[in-house]
Structure formats: C-alpha cells, structure tokens
Symmetry: C2
Subunit: 275 residues, 2 copies
C-alpha cells in the first residue's frame, strides 16, 4: 500500500492540464506498487481544493485523466475525502493505492556485489519536460502521462530474477543512492549507457536530464549478471526496453564511471538563494 | 479503509498544538473505522509542509500526539509520504487507516421505521471549543483530543443490535440528514435529550454547539426499540454513556421535535460575505 501526495506549484504547474494531474497521480502510485511486484487493486483519493474558483469544473477534468489511468492500470477508486483549503493555497491531490504482490515482494535491500543494474524504458525525457524552458512535445508528454512498466515489473517479480528494485521517480541522482544505502552496497553507473529517447539523445543537457531529472517512473532493478539473457528475453516478450547501465560492488554509495555523482534532490534542502 | 485530510487554517488553528494535530488526525480516522465496526490496524501518513520554518521541530511535536493516539487505539504507522508545499501554504496532514471488521460491517443505510436513534458520550463540547470565543478548558480538551468510543463500537457491531451507524464528525445538523438519506427514512431528534457535558449544559449557545458544532467523534446509531435494554447493558459493561435521542419514521430528512433543522455545514458552500 502506498500514499503519494502531489502539490500544485511543487509537483505540477500549468504545463499539466487537470486531466494530466489525475492521470499522473494514479500512475505515480502504480509505479510504487509495480516496483514492489504488486498488482494495483484499489485507490482512495483525497482532494484539498480552494473554494474559488468553484472546484466542480476542475474536478470533472481531473476525473477524466484519473479514469483513464484507472482503466489502464486496473485500479478501482473506492473512496476518499474532499477538503477545502484557504483562499490562495495550492491544490493537493493525494492517492492511496493498495496492491497485491504477485510473488515475494521486491525490495530495495537485496542488491549484491556482482549484480548488474538495469533500467526499463529510457530516462531523462520527463526531466527535459520539467527542466527545459522550451520542452519538445515528446518531453511534455512524458512529464504529463508517465506509464510505469507494470506488466514487466510483475513478470520480473514472478520470475525471481531481480535482487532489488525501486521506481525511478526522483531521478537517478537521488534514487540510486537510496538503493545503494538500502542494500549496503556500492553501485556504479555508466552514464553513457543510460538509454535516452531520441528527443534528448543529442541534447547538451542530456546528462543533467538523465541524472538530476525525475518523474520517469521507470523501474530500476538489480539482478545477478548470470540472469542477463533471461531478463532480456522476459523484457522482449513484454515489449519492454531494458538496459544494463551499471554494476554493483562491495562498498557504499552511488558513483558514475566518468566522475562525481550529482547532488541528490531533497524536498527540504535549504533553498538556493542569491547572496 | 479510510482517508482523512486535515488542513491548517481549516481543520485546526493555534488552539491545537502540533501534538494535538497528530492525536486528532489519528483519532478522526479511528472514529470512521469504529463507526463501521472495524478495529484499526495500520496507518499511512502523508505530510505536506512548508520548507520554512524548518519542519523537523514541528514534526517531532506532531509525532508525540500521533504516537499517543496510535498506542491508545492500537494503530501501527507503516509508511507514508512527506512533501514540501510552497511558502505560505498551509500544512496538510492526511491519514489513511485500515481496519478489519469484527462482524458484518455497520453501514449508514440500515435504519428502519420504529428504530431509536442513539448517541454515545455527549455532544457539543468540541463545538463549544471551536465556536466559543473564550472556550472552557474542558471544551478545548474535547476539541484537541477526541476519543472515539472504539471498544463500544466494536462490541455493538459484534452484538448485531444496530441497524445503522456513523460517526458524528461534522455535527448533527450535517450528519443526521446523511444517515436519513442513506437509509431512506425520516429521523426526528429531541434536542432536549441530547446529552451535554456539564460545561455547556446551561450555556445559552448549547443548542447551537450541539447541532451545528462538529468534531465530537461520537457514534450515532440506530437500533430497534426492542433492543433498548440490551444496548444500555452493553454500554454500561464498557463504561460508555449512551442516550436515546430520537426516533426513525417512514419518510425522509432529519427534523427536530421542537422546530426547524439547522442548515448543514458544507465545505464548498458559497462563503457568507458582507453585501
């Protein structure tokens, strides 16, 4: 079971239509469950909205994307809560999703020296949608409508091949150190191997989008290197792109083969203010 | 499973210390589960907090009351989410609680003509804490630290005596019409019978506190009049005050024996502005 909260002005802005907010709220929580190898079942929705402008029209639009995502991922909305916030306060959308593990749960703590690090899909495209002042349509789409690799995640959990998994939601720079810490290992990524969508493949900011950008909602996982062929076959059977992007060693922390690791994102880090 | 969201400035203000907010967030959700005849088991907590003032001290205080309530009601905090909100935005505390029904779930829809309407404890004291410009200490305590009658609610569910139940969280004026509507019946309350704490028993605003005031987190339930003695015995065995305050008839809506029903509270009602 997982809860995710999205705050207007923090997690979304005018680049997301209300329907995108609805879709993304569900998709982000589905991503959390997928990373555990859990098939989503039901959802509670908590909305905190200002009285003005009158919230009905906004909620009707939110609902369109919410319903699309619920249909896409097999989620049933079973209840929730609606609350007013004071005038001028941001809208808050909070989703609680429950799922059932299809096999032993995938966790962050099982990565072992000798494992390979894998990522599904591509990374950095949603980051470009968020960070690029004039993002390409494909980057905006990725930001607005993330599609976590649920079928592959469930199949991977059932296969028993993976030693650890998590979803890539805050960006590699933030998420990979978490995986390394939880498993008590060192993980080294080769940034040149990080799969990129054609839109950002040749972009001068590619590295930044791929490491510091979040919102990809892809699956990051580790597995013994002997499982390489089995994983590639499983992914191919589900039409899911997978790429081995690094390796697990004894030690601690996340590193890049070509240099220092960027600073992780922190919700409560001291804000960067001009001196 | 239930989700409840509390917004600073809407659901609490400076009358509640952070520890009170923590206690109340849990208690309000426990009240929801109790009204279904469900014993709480686990909780997810979602916090949305501004970066400044730095949130650690506030969270440490919140945690004290949260832990007290979790211990009091047998709840295990198993996960959650922490998010930053923009500068100046209110704090938002959202709790998702799961419980297991001890018998067939109590619902709002089973009240039948001939039933009596019952309420546990007293009502209006928390309303006085919220509405009175200079509330008595007991009224503030009731506002800050509500204690839903969990043991009685579970025993009532197990007994099979009740036909319908809900928790009294938004005040009788709001909650009773919901019960009547869900059951397709008319419910008439005798305001003179509404049990009052000594602090407000002789207060000129007693009726207003008891009908329009919310936050009591007591149990409102119906049962056939033939069950009267059994219910009183059950309540006495658990040291819980219960009072028969009205009756169920065929028809629709909630009424008071002595006059018109006050206007329900609505989160999204048009605000009352001076012309």
């Amino acid at each position: 079971v997982t809860v995710d909260t999205m705050v207007q002005g923090v997690h979304w802005d005018s680049r997301l239509a209300p329907a995108d907010v609805g879709f993304k709220a569900v998709a982000a929580s589905v991503s959390d469950l997928a990373a555990c190898g859990a098939r989503p079942r039901w959802m509670l929705l908590s909305l905190s909205l200002p009285r003005r402008p009158e919230p009905d029209a906004w909620v009707a639009k939110l609902r369109v994307g919410l319903s699309e995502a619920c249909a896409a991922f097999g989620v049933h909305l079973v209840g929730g809560d609606v609350t007013a916030v004071p005038h001028g306060a941001p809208r808050v959308v909070s989703t609680t999703l429950e799922g059932r593990c299809v096999a032993a749960p995938l966790t962050r703590s099982g990565a072992r020296a000798g494992d390979l690090l894998w990522v599904t899909g591509t990374c950095g495209l949603a980051g470009a949608g968020w960070m690029d002042p004039a993002p390409a349509p494909a980057a905006l789409d990725a930001l607005r409508r993330p599609v976590p690799p649920l079928p592959f995640a469930l199949a991977l959990a059932a296969s028993g091949h993976a030693t650890a998994a998590m979803d890539l939601s805050d960006g590699l720079a933030t998420d990979l150190p978490r995986l390394a810490r939880a498993s008590g290992v060192a993980i080294e990524v080769d940034p040149a191997r990080l799969p990129a969508h054609p839109t950002i493949a040749g972009h001068p900011q590619r590295r930044r989008y791929q490491l510091a950008g979040g919102e990809d909602y892809q699956l990051l996982f580790t597995a013994p290197s002997a499982k390489r062929a089995a994983i590639e076959e499983l992914a191919a059977s589900l039409d899911t792109q997978v790429t081995a992007v690094g390796s697990v060693r004894e030690g601690s922390g996340a590193t890049a083969t070509d240099g220092a690791w960027p600073r992780p994102f922190a919700h409560f880090a001291p804000p960067k203010v001009a001196p």
